[in-house]
């Protein structure tokens, strides 16, 4: 990919910058506002060089600096009590949060977005989204052990969804499968709100011994900076190309490369094994992955987290293209690269490990005294800055926050007026219709493209309520993880909706038999310049933070993605919440669904007439309005406690969370996943409400008949309402007075939808 050698352009040095204060610079094209540019000039006491301008502009971008969200995210810290912090070994601000799960094990996890690249180039956008989050986990010193991908698309039958979804799924699959990471969960949601702006979020979990925790910092004068992994190229440079086009005249023959990065999962797989061997040998002082903003981010963050300055020589960076400028090298988002701080006496051993794995590694700089980040290029100084001003002292905005004028009308538009099916035949047909709906049907078309078995520790994956992997083969200790968000609930009430997302993920983890321990969130919203969006964001953050305080689990990290909109139309506010739980022994996990004949089916939690934002209102009537279901986190806490205790005592044989689609869908899935029918009565006098309401805090469990009394007693002691619904077994799902639904009919309804929409083999 090396282009023909272009004319070497003049280097914009610090010296030159000081001597030419009036030279116009394309800072606006790089996304900097007038006052931000002035601030850079006042920090430096001169105009920035091209390379410095590239660094500041990318590091002060919304994506890297969190400038619109910072003032709100501080609320997470305010609500985290010392008790909640007890098991936290690292939190917000590190590459990923780390929690102590016992037996000397620590687990790190994080969910991140790669939305915009995935719309432009679905396959590579999604693939590199997986790659990025995996490197974040590696940078903590952990071995990545599982991934999960919450995905959101426009309407299932929209032409653009047919372009985006297969590419995204193949991208997630190809990259994750090639890394040897089991994909254990995630979501697939369709809504018109995401047409033109799909959400591709990626979660990764890693495990390590607690003593192996690595944090990103560059301490110790004389320590060396090693860049290792892939070469640095022109891919993923994005906005900085305006500097290049200024610097280069036409006719240099240089190719423009796509702004979306291109992934190489093989290089990343080798990088994982190489990093783990380096950690194991004790050869790493500090480490940072190269993701957004590339070397600009890695060098400024490493330097500002350390105790001194840093010198970097860009001529030592191995390049993929000739004639790259300093600004381009610093901004390149070429994938599969890491930056380590290494003691001088360890460098030889470090490079030997890299050579064993055929990983390219080069010393590109060193930690020095003086507190400045100095970068040279072709022997001249092109950057000389206080690193904190790049990495942490970016602008902070107090954006206007205002509940929009349309919100009252939205809440007032209650679903009560929507025609409800009545009569046995209509209700029965509605169960099948809902089971086949794009948001409720089987996700197998997607998840069957992901390897869920690799590494041999997966004890639950889709369609289970939570993914679960074993961490310790001897003790059986493991973790469970679930991600959830019903964005329609968030649109109706961002505070309560975000708490419902938290409650659902929390409940899903508990349903599997694990004890919820920590939260990571991926906050996907529209433009922060829209006061209504900022109101949604502020409310959602407060909802999650207050909710976590009530549940006693901390938010350990996450990601904010703004500007998810097409024109002036924002996506549904989508704060995806990931909850991580721990289970002492994965052999005691609770399987999903009806796994034995003759068990008693019990519904935990109460059912109310709550249809606002429900899947039924959405699918059948295209309606969004009213209030979301009531959220009661104290009740969720009691329910989770009961579920964990019941799993530990072996009181339940199977379980399934109730969420989208209500009891009807939970019964359908429990039957199909378990491969057997059931006969049940309905827990509410109104059959429609009983079947399709989406009241929170409910879980379907099964128990052996001889243990039902113990289970009911435990529920009563825990203060959790319990209703015996019926018995498992038989070839059909028989609901109250409705004519039984044979399993094959349920199965073809549930499994047929996605293949019919997306199975179009390429002709020829």
């Amino acid at each position: 990919m090396v282009a023909s050698s272009p004319a070497v352009p003049a280097v914009d040095t610090v010296e030159l910058a000081a001597a030419s204060p009036d030279q116009p610079q394309p800072y606006r094209e790089l996304g900097l506002k007038d006052d931000e540019y002035e601030r850079i000039r006042s920090i430096l006491g001169r105009r920035p060089t091209d390379a410095e301008l590239a660094m500041y502009s990318v590091m002060w971008s919304e994506h890297c600096s969190y400038k619109s969200s910072k003032v709100h995210l501080a609320y997470f810290g305010e609500k985290t009590t010392p008790a909640m912090r007890q098991k936290m070994l690292a939190g917000i601000g590190e590459n990923a949060g780390v929690v102590d799960i016992g037996d000397g094990w620590a687990v790190t996890f994080k969910v991140e977005s790669h939305n915009h690249p995935s719309y432009v180039e679905p396959f590579q956008g999604a693939a590199t989204g997986v790659g990025g989050i995996v490197r974040d986990i590696m940078a903590m010193g952990a071995r990545p052990i599982a991934v999960a991908d919450p995905l959101r698309f426009g309407p299932a039958d929209a032409p653009d969804t047919a372009r985006v979804l297969p590419g995204v799924v193949a991208g997630v699959g190809t990259y994750g499968n090639s890394l040897g990471l089991p994909n254990i969960g995630g979501e697939v949601v369709f809504d018109a709100g995401y047409a033109g702006n799909p959400l591709v979020n990626a979660l990764c979990v890693g495990a390590m011994r607690t003593e192996d925790l690595h944090l990103a910092f560059a301490s110790g004068t004389g320590n060396l900076i090693v860049l290792f992994g892939a070469r640095t190229g022109l891919d993923g440079i994005g906005g900085v190309s305006v500097l290049a086009s200024e610097t280069f005249s036409d006719g240099t023959g240089r190719k423009k490369l796509p702004a979306v990065q291109v992934g190489d999962p093989f290089t990343e797989k080798v990088l994982i094994e190489c990093c783990l061997e380096l950690y194991h040998a004790g050869l790493v002082v500090g480490i940072q992955d190269l993701g957004g903003a590339g070397l600009s981010c890695a060098t400024s963050e490493l330097a500002s987290a350390g105790d001194g300055g840093m010198r970097i020589d860009l001529d030592a960076v191995p390049l993929r293209a000739s004639g790259m400028t300093a600004a381009e090298i610093l901004s390149s988002e070429s994938q599969e690269r890491m930056c380590a701080v290494v003691r001088p006496q360890d460098v030889e051993a470090f490079l030997a490990v890299c050579a064993k794995w055929d990983v390219l590694a080069n010393v590109i700089g060193e930690v020095v005294d003086g507190g400045r980040l100095v970068i040279t290029f072709r022997g001249e100084t092109v950057v000389d800055v206080p690193p904190r001003t790049v990495a942490h002292d970016g602008p902070v905005y107090e954006r206007p926050v205002r509940r929009g004028p349309g919100q009252d009308a939205l809440v007032a538009d209650v679903p009560d007026r929507l025609p409800r099916p009545s009569g046995r035949a209509a209700l029965r047909a509605e169960i099948l219709r809902m089971a086949a709906s794009p948001n409720l049907c089987s996700r197998a078309w997607v998840t069957d493209q992901y390897d869920r078995y690799v590494r041999g520790n997966t004890t639950s994956a889709q369609p289970a309520d939570a993914g679960m992997v074993r961490v310790d083969e001897v003790t059986g200790r493991g973790i469970a993880v679930a991600t959830d968000c019903n964005a329609r609930f968030v649109a109706l009430d961002p505070y309560a909706g975000a708490q419902l997302a938290l409650a659902e993920a929390y409940r899903n983890v508990a349903t599997s038999g694990a004890v919820p321990l920590a939260v990571s969130d991926c906050l996907n919203f529209g433009s922060p310049e829209d006061p209504h969006v900022m109101w949604q964001f502020q409310q959602a953050v407060r909802g999650i933070a207050d909710g976590c305080a009530l549940l006693g689990i901390p938010v350990t990290g996450g990601n904010v993605s703004f500007y998810n909109q097409t024109g002036d139309r924002a996506i549904l506010p989508t704060p995806v919440v990931g909850v991580l739980g721990v289970i002492d022994d994965v052999a005691r996990r609770v399987p999903s669904g009806f796994v034995r004949d003759g068990d008693t089916v019990v519904l935990l939690g109460d059912t109310r007439d709550e249809l606002g934002g429900s899947e039924w209102a959405h699918h059948v009537h295209g309606h969004l309005g009213g209030r979301p279901p009531a959220v009661d986190l104290a009740a969720e806490h009691r329910l989770a406690g009961l579920l964990a205790a019941s799993a530990a005592r072996g009181l339940v044989t199977g379980s399934h969370d109730l969420s989208d689609g209500g009891l009807a869908q939970a019964l359908v899935e429990a039957c199909l996943v378990g491969g057997r029918g059931a006969r049940v009565e309905l827990p509410h006098p109104d059959a429609f409400v009983a079947l399709f309401a989406e009241s929170a805090g409910r879980v379907l469990v099964t128990a052996a008949p001889e243990q039902v009394d113990d289970l009911l007693a435990a529920a009563s002691t825990a203060g959790v309402p319990a209703h015996v619904l019926g018995t498992t077994g038989g070839p059909a799902l028989a609901v109250g007075p409705l004519e039984p639904l044979p399993l094959p009919a349920l199965r073809s309804a549930w499994e047929g939808t996605l293949p019919a929409l997306f199975d179009h083999p390429v002709p020829g």
Binding site: N177, F266, Y453, G456, T458, R470
Partner: protein, 222 residues
């Protein structure tokens, strides 16, 4: 008994293969792609993954790795060799097994629990099974469609060298539903599905896959 498990850069299921060897009661021995050394093992497993990224034809580069020279020599002397998924592709590329593995007919990577029938117990890796035994093991591959010319398929069928056949639907368009085959002497076996992921019902769909690893215990070179 010591069973070698090869790791190429990009190999993924080596930990699983080693665990399966352990569960069967043998000692797993790590073998490195760049070494010309089988470390005195009694049998070799070439595990799944994407060796060297498989950006070329799957298995094409791995078949030329230094360790494969030794595997080829040992196989000629009768050492039991099992290739799983990418390992099967590598054994075909190395010429130890006939045919090739092409892109799935559905064009997608497929991960699912697959029923298989063990068609032959006259191999080093299926001797402990019963002929016609049905097993349930994971399949996970994008290039798993077994293809060969008609003569080769006829020879494999005629000589009883089709060892595993897909049941309950052909997942990838493989000729004659072939999931796995053996060398003429039955010592080298390759299959696309993953018996090493089916050694414990806790983490797999069954423990049906263990039989391959227990079979080889009685089949080492004398």
């Amino acid at each position: 008994m010591r069973i070698g498990v090869i790791t190429f850069p990009g190999t993924l299921d080596d930990v699983d293969a080693a665990r399966a060897v352990r569960y069967a009661g043998a000692e797993p021995v790590s073998l490195w792609h760049a070494d010309h050394d089988l470390a005195g093992v009694d049998a070799v497993v070439v595990p799944g993954g994407f060796s060297y990224g498989d950006y070329l034809r799957a298995g094409a580069i791995a078949s030329l790795a230094p360790i494969m020279t030794e595997v080829k020599d040992a196989a000629r002397r009768g050492m039991p060799v099992l290739g799983i998924c990418n390992g099967f592709q590598i054994l075909c590329e190395a010429g130890l097994l006939p045919g090739a593995l092409a892109r799935n007919s559905g064009l997608h990577f497929v991960c699912r629990d697959q029923r298989l029938r063990i068609e032959s117990t006259a191999t080093a890796w299926t001797g402990a099974a019963t002929a016609g035994q049905e097993i349930l093991v994971p399949l996970k591959s994008g290039e798993g469609r077994f293809v060969a010319d008609a003569d080769t398929v006829a020879r494999l069928e005629g000589e009883g060298r089709v060892v595993f056949r897909y049941l309950g639907g052909n997942p990838n368009g493989a000729l004659a539903d072939i999931a796995g085959i053996s060398s003429a002497d039955g010592r080298v076996v390759g299959l696309m599905p993953h018996p090493e992921h089916a050694i414990d019902p806790l983490t797999g769909p069954s423990d049906d896959g263990l039989v391959l690893f227990t079979s080889v215990l009685g089949a080492a070179v004398g």
